[in-house]
């Protein structure tokens, strides 16, 4: 018997630049900056080169951090008997499965007010955090949506569920 279609919530951070675009941009910056630095190295002023290199490393690291955030995905699938969470980047995906009837959705406030809250899905001593790339209001929205869907699936286990849901706006 085919499995009932789940509710699927996908959380994706907003990212305006593709990896390809980032590479082109970074290559252009490297060409220009190192071009200038090597021009001075040829004149004998080599100390400019390490500063250009350091700066390009910093730029590359900043771009990489920002782009890696864009690769992140969280897919929360809610089946009649379980909640599956698959999250991470393409090269390191983690998944967790929780029985629907025992699952807790808990939005924990941070101890320091300016820090973000944490949205935890848990059961039987296992837990999984979701919505880390979201802002506070989006995380609250996701929490509300998860509770609604789990409640709904719990009440109507035999019903075919083929509606795809998403939090208010999956994009950050």
């Amino acid at each position: 018997m085919p499995e009932l279609s789940p509710y699927r919530l996908q959380v994706v951070p907003n990212c305006a630049l593709s990896w390809h675009g980032a590479l082109i941009f970074y290559a252009w910056m490297c060409t220009a900056s190192l071009g200038i630095a090597f021009f001075f190295v040829i004149q004998g002023y080599w100390p400019i080169l390490p500063f250009a290199g350091l700066e390009l490393l910093a730029l590359g690291a900043a771009l990489w951090v920002s782009m890696r955030r864009g690769d992140y995905r969280e897919v929360i699938s809610i089946y009649p008997d379980r909640v599956e969470v698959e999250k991470g980047r393409p090269d390191e995906r983690h998944s967790a499965v929780f029985p629907l009837h025992w699952v807790h959705v808990n939005l924990r406030p941070a101890r320091i007010a300016s820090y973000p809250s944490r949205l935890i899905i848990s059961s039987h001593g296992h837990h999984c955090e979701v919505g880390r790339c979201l802002t506070e209001s989006e995380r609250r929205g996701l929490s509300r949506r998860l509770r609604e869907v789990i409640e709904h699936v719990h009440k109507t286990p035999a019903q075919r569920l083929d509606v795809e849901g998403s939090p208010g706006n999956p994009h950050r």
Binding site: A16, I36, L59, M67, A113
Partner: protein, 524 residues
Amino acid sequence: MSHTADAHHDHHAAPSGFKRWLFATNHKDIGTMYLVFALVMFFVGGTMAMIIRAELFQPGLQFVDPGFFNQMTTMHALMMIFGGVMPAFVGLANWMVPLMVGAPDMALPRMNNWSFWLLPVAFSLLLSTLFFAGGAPAGGWTMYPPLVLQTGNAFPFLIFSVHLMGMSSIMGAINIVVTIMNMRAPGMGLLKMPLFVWTWLITAYLLILAMPVLAGAVTMLLTDEYFGTSFFNAGGGGDPLMFQHVFWFFGHPEVYIMILPAFGIVSQIIPTFARKPLFGYESMVYATASIAFLSFIVWAHHMFTVGMPLSGQLFFMFSTMLIAVPTGVKVFNWMATMWRGSMTFETPMLFAVAFVFLFSIGGFSGLMLGITPADFQYHDTYFVVAHFHYVLVPGAIFGIMGGVYFWMPKWTGHMYNEKLAKIHFWLSAIFVNVTFFPQHFVGLAGMPRRIPDYATQFADFNMVSSIGAFVFGVSQLLFVYIIWSCVRGGEKATTAVWEGSHGLEWTVPSPAPHHTFEVAPEVP
């Protein structure tokens, strides 16, 4: 049965106390800190300018000895460039770029915090040299060797503080570039970005390309002084003139780093108060990019008199002339935007119109200086001082002031006192000319720059210039009062603030909440 245990907590309130500022990662808090820091530095640098103008009020030595006078000219420039103008623009970028592109914050908020907090450290180090035996650096902000190597104990502090300022600028630039490139709201294509964002993107490129050159140059000064190298030491086979080439390779893009964001601000203000879209948006973007490119191939026009081949003189003269083309495109587009617009002249618009007019004067005197044979006459005279002050005061600083008046209602939620602001504008606009216009005349008549005493033939214009400077300086206290009173209260600002306002930043409430665009906005 599923359970939920949401415990709501209001994370949207801004944290309070000194930790809010010390550990700030919110772009608005950091923007505010940058702007306050810049304002303080304007007054520190401005006080130095007052000392300079007091000494030049009449011929002879009245108040300070020549050594201290040289310290004041050097420190005034460093304070105003690296402490005033650049942090003010970074502050405006921190506040407005995320709001304009629909991002919830800067791309790297912790780095943003670090890049700000380097600045007070850098300037504390630099200002502390005023109390050293031998005093603060006095060889000019350009740090030409071998003069700068005679600085004494302050020298390594100068180099270290310049490194810190550079680090701060680079981190700020990287953050802005990554924010603009990667955090634009869906639908916010590059050619939909507001001009202020565009000009800052190009400014950040300039910073990233130019700053390593400055860092390398000052490091070579340091190694020449303490580690026995001879990059710029003629006695060891080096060439002190090459420092000028290396320095101005950084220095000329730096000039545009200090003016391009002002172009962006004016390009936001004029369409708002002319109630018309900006004329020639794309040509403005291309003109900005052209100016940025040309800024890297004109550096030697700062040093025509040091001696260079005729071909070099011709190349740098013509490439300098070429900058007038994209700059002319910009001035034309601003005027075309105003043409037949339903213009009103609130304070931001007054500053923007004054910017267009007075910056053009600075641009024209720049063209005069770019003509090699003429520059041989003008070089190192007060004409140069008049030129770059016209570019930087009614140019960059008027741009900043216009931007502050334009966006302050969005920041504070209150309208500023329009009557007082107009008085501030007129005092500034009149006395900036009283201060700097006569300097053209004394410069053309041959008065050298960076001197505490001068021939009596220059006395009258110098007295006028000093009076202008004092009134201009005092009138800036009014600016502080207007900002202070606007922060404290006033007429409630609406969301759109201005009748002709257009853009994402005007869709968030006034004052802008601590967190904005938590849900990515729709860009039409």
